[in-house]
């Protein structure tokens, strides 16, 4: 069987089913017929919104890292800790490499991912030509996606608060709220982002 012309075709990344590309409306969702994977779900103005959300998230990340995160007080004892303290909790002894891993998972990878998205989508949102290596940046942003665990961290904080709440009074610092907001924004941003559309736009703009 001779291979057909690959242009104008897309393959489902999950089950390899081959589809002809069609134009998808702004409120429509393209789904794989076999496995149900969402292939594309473009939204109007998504680029601009993603860019703005990523920018906001980046600012919040800076705030979350630099402000006090939680404050525990009991019997006049006070303990203030920042996100950095949580990361450095493992810095003693044999668990030291875990500090680095935590720094990556909580702060560095999410921040890097935001930067990569801004790098890729920022120019496109403004209608410019994509910058050099934009494709590379976006591919890495997608690869980092499972490893950026900011939202997992927030749930971890919630569990820890439940554990500690019975023992002492916990005051939530500004960084905590910044982090929560950051997580919400990240989730919103990821939900409106359509990979296929980004890739298509990227290659179209690049070609033009």
């Amino acid at each position: 069987m001779a291979a057909p012309d690959p242009t104008g075709l897309i393959a489902c990344p999950t089950c390899d089913a081959l589809y002809r590309e069609r134009r998808i409306g702004a409120d429509e969702v393209a789904r794989c017929r076999r496995c149900g994977t969402v292939l594309a779900a473009p939204q109007s103005g998504a680029m601009t919104r993603i860019t703005m959300l990523a920018g906001a998230a980046l600012v919040l990340m800076v705030a979350a890292v630099s402000f006090p995160f939680l404050e525990l007080s009991e019997m006049g004892l006070q303990q203030r800790s920042s996100v950095v303290d949580a990361i450095l909790a493992f810095s003693d002894g044999r668990t030291a490499p875990l500090s680095l891993a935590l720094a990556l998972l909580i702060v560095l990878l999410p921040a890097a991912r935001l930067l990569a998205l801004l790098y890729t989508l920022g120019p496109m949102a403004l209608g410019w030509q994509p910058w050099r290596h934009a494709a590379l940046a976006f591919r890495w942003a997608e690869k980092m996606r499972p490893w950026a665990m900011a939202e997992v961290f927030i749930v971890g904080v919630a569990v820890a608060l439940v554990k500690v709440a019975g023992l002492a009074t916990v005051t939530l610092g500004p960084a905590f709220w910044a982090f929560c907001l950051l997580v919400l924004i990240t989730v919103r941003k990821d939900s409106i982002m359509c990979r296929l559309t980004v890739w298509k736009t990227l290659s179209e703009r690049h070609a033009s």
């Binding site: 001779a2 897309i10 017929r33 800790s81 591919r139 499972p146 665990m149 820890a160 990979r195």
Partner: protein, 216 residues
């Protein structure tokens, strides 16, 4: 979801796959390239019709994760020191402690997050990998969903490690009460990372390939 139901009822439609067409589909961006292309022209990802080492990598990471999971359970996760009295909490010990104090809810969460989910993940990945070769009870859609769930849930096991980190950073009251992380926190994190890699190494297209082979 409704579409699914329909398809399931009617039987999944037979579709042409990129491999059948002699083409390569990019898993990152969906672009289809001619056979023999090394890297995707759009996104630059490495192309392979099916990754030949996928299963091997699944098993290797799976084994590594399992090995790291053993010390994670044997060694203390938390070192709690209260008024000079040091207590070592292992994962299961911590959950049992909570249950003893009547915090059944929290105990259940901790137990689920640190015991049930990791063990379930190991079982699920092993099942998915084995199901490619052996007859299974679960259909392709079921296994596809299982893979999605495993991939989604993998990172949430990190909660435990984060809880330890926050508690250690927060509860530093000197003599009165101090919490320090134990070595198990590191091996547990390693185990989670390994199982995540294992799940990522699994090529879901293999599930559907098996279907075609079966139905042919």
């Amino acid at each position: 979801m409704q579409a699914h139901g329909l398809e399931d009822a009617l039987g999944t439609p037979r579709l042409l796959t990129a491999r059948d067409a002699g083409l390569l589909g990019c898993r990152a961006c969906g672009r289809v390239s001619a056979a023999g292309t090394g890297a995707c022209a759009r996104c630059g990802a490495r192309l392979a019709s099916r990754d030949p080492t996928s299963l091997q990598r699944v098993w290797a990471w799976w084994l590594a994760g399992l090995i790291a999971y053993i010390p994670a359970n044997l060694y203390p996760m938390l070192l709690t020191s209260r008024f000079g009295h040091v207590r070592e909490n292992t994962i299961i010990g911590g959950a049992l402690d909570l249950a003893h104090h009547g915090d059944y809810g929290v105990a259940a969460i901790v137990f689920a997050a640190s015991v049930l989910i990791p063990v379930g993940k190991f079982l699920a990945i092993a099942y998915l990998a084995l199901s490619l070769k052996l007859p299974t009870a679960l259909g392709r859609h079921g296994r596809h969903r299982l893979h999605e769930v495993v991939e989604f849930i993998g990172r949430w096991s990190m909660i435990d490690v984060f809880v330890v980190a926050i508690l250690s950073a927060l509860v530093q009251f000197g003599f009165a009460a101090t919490i320090n992380p134990g070595i198990a926190a590191a091996t547990f994190a390693l185990s989670v990372a390994f199982t995540m890699l294992s799940a990522q190494s699994f090529d879901p297209r293999l599930i559907w390939d098996a279907e075609e082979r079966d139905s042919r």
